[in-house]
Subunit: 157 residues, 2 copies
DNA sequence: CTACGTGCAAAAGATTTGCATTCGA
DNA sequence: TCGAATGCAAATCTTTTGCACGTAG
């Protein structure tokens, strides 16, 4: 039952990708569908290195360049979202699947206030952000396509 | 008058740095005060490259390593804030002076929705974010030290 | 005097790019 | 067939690190 529903979902996702590819006159390469499937099998945030290693372990051979390339496409298609956890610049970007998911934000909990080692990342969703968004759209005459909100803190003693 | 007030402010800032340095048992190097002054003379967001070039143009010789080093200290001291505008991972971090400034967030306006070239960055301040912050602190039993909120969009036609 | 801080250059790490090869349409 | 995608390696770009030297305390 669980497996069935999962299978159904991934098929829907692949259909979304197929339509996107058709719209953009891109090509239906097997890599794109395989990477998509791999991403949608994950339940965690992942980075390019993770995904690259995981796929190669499973004997799907993909180059890193292709992973990066494909990730860009998926981002544009709205199939995944990108995150920059922690505030360090050089650290890798993280991604997560986004289709079927409602938009949410993140609370980054550091082990200690000082050295920014991440202990945990919690997702949350507060509807008030929509109100702020609308206020900003009106105040500055813009259309807002996305937002990113992170809170950084530590566990209460 | 304007100049006087400016001079006064920078002295206060330097005093803040001095106290911080004393607390941490660091050393009062001239570089630290010169870089601080340079930052507080700017009215724009800046990155390390900008600051490094600017200072060397003015014949203050500082190495990039020292700039990075000093920036870290200032961040910890709360004298500056760090931003990652645009969503690209490899792009440099930006900074801005933060003392005397109230916390604000940013609206990043892209020229076109698609290619993420930045047209303008607008600062705003919406008090509702405080309400969200408090809700999160209570919900997850954490102390939140900081947040970052960015809206991304384009100008309305 | 004794480390801490600086400068310089090399290293590291994530991402991009160039180019030859493959393969979808 | 023909150009878009891929794979691989080299290049790029920001930030970090190692080490010798200078200097604050």
């Amino acid at each position: 039952m669980e497996i069935t529903r999962k299978k159904k979902n991934i098929d829907v996702i692949k259909e979304v990708l197929k339509q996107y590819i058709r719209d953009k006159n891109f090509r239906n390469t097997p890599e794109r569908y395989t990477i998509l499937e791999e991403i949608y099998n994950m339940d965690q945030h992942f980075n390019v290195e993770d995904l690259y290693l995981l796929m190669n372990e499973k004997n799907y051979h993909v180059s890193k360049a292709t992973v990066y390339n494909t990730i860009d496409i998926f981002l544009d298609a709205g199939l995944i979202r990108k995150h920059q956890f922690g505030e360090k610049t050089g650290s890798p970007s993280f991604y997560e699947k986004s289709y079927f998911d409602k938009q949410h934000d993140h609370l980054v909990i550091y082990k200690k206030k000082s050295d920014k080692e991440i202990e945990e990342i919690i997702e949350f969703c507060d509807p008030r952000i929509q109100g702020i968004k609308e206020a900003i759209e009106n105040a500055f005459n813009v259309n807002i396509d996305s937002h990113s909100l992170y809170f950084y803190g530590t566990k209460k003693a």
